[in-house]
């Protein structure tokens, strides 16, 4: 029976392996026809949404892989706004609000509050956290 998952990602793409584990888990989940209610990027996990990462050629490009998965399956990918602001991940609205010189949030991600984690979790069969 297909189940609904909320997946919480706490690790950055570089300097932690857990983002990659989460990505592989999501692939397997979707291939088994389960649903992802929401991806929630929190803590250092917000760095997965950076549009400025340029990894070396012989290493995996996790932000690109996340974007590909999100686009392919039309997933809802929310980045915690409070965690993002503290770590220098901004969309154009926040760039304007904080008078910064750039925005760097990847196109398929949206900034929002922790309520999005709670709301998704409350309608999901399972919530799984990939810790850093």
């Amino acid at each position: 029976m297909p189940m609904k998952f909320t997946v919480v990602i706490l690790g950055a793409p570089e300097g932690s392996l857990s983002s990659r584990s989460a990505l592989e888990f999501c692939h397997a989940l979707l291939e088994q026809n389960h649903q992802i209610e929401r991806l929630f990027f929190y803590a250092d996990g917000v760095h997965n949404a950076s549009s400025l990462i340029a990894p070396p050629q012989d290493e995996a490009d996790l932000p690109a892989s996340w974007s590909q998965l999100i686009n392919e399956y039309k997933l809802d990918a929310v980045v915690c706004i409070a965690a993002a602001l503290k770590r220098g991940i901004l969309d154009h609205n926040e760039q304007t609000r904080y008078e910064k010189n750039a925005a760097n949030l990847g196109a398929c991600f949206s900034l929002s509050g922790l309520g999005q984690l709670i709301a998704a979790s409350s309608v999901s069969d399972r919530t799984i956290t990939f810790g850093s």
Partner: protein, 119 residues
Amino acid sequence: MSRILCISRHSPYQTSSACDALDAVLAAGAFDQEVSLLLMNEGVWQAIKNQQASLLGRTGIGKKMAALPLFGVKQVYIHTPSLTQRGLTRDSLHLDAVQLVTNNEVRTLIQQHDQLLSF
């Protein structure tokens, strides 16, 4: 409404984990979910008296702890073996309305909730 248990296992300042857990619990409370917080392992350090977070430029965490009852957070549980291992007792804590729980009680707690948030 789902019953959420947030397990917070990390020390108050070294990483953002403790603060992130509190923010998640407060958000759940604000969303009228039935939410409880369990402090265990290094997480019990979050609850001890006489901390001066301002020395680290981190005043937020104390305020958030104090706000837990205001946001309708149902209960704060503290894992007794973690407390004892650190030479701490109920008197070491700055929170009054906490419930101390054994390993068996933690197992029961987990069973009584629908979702776990792991921090």
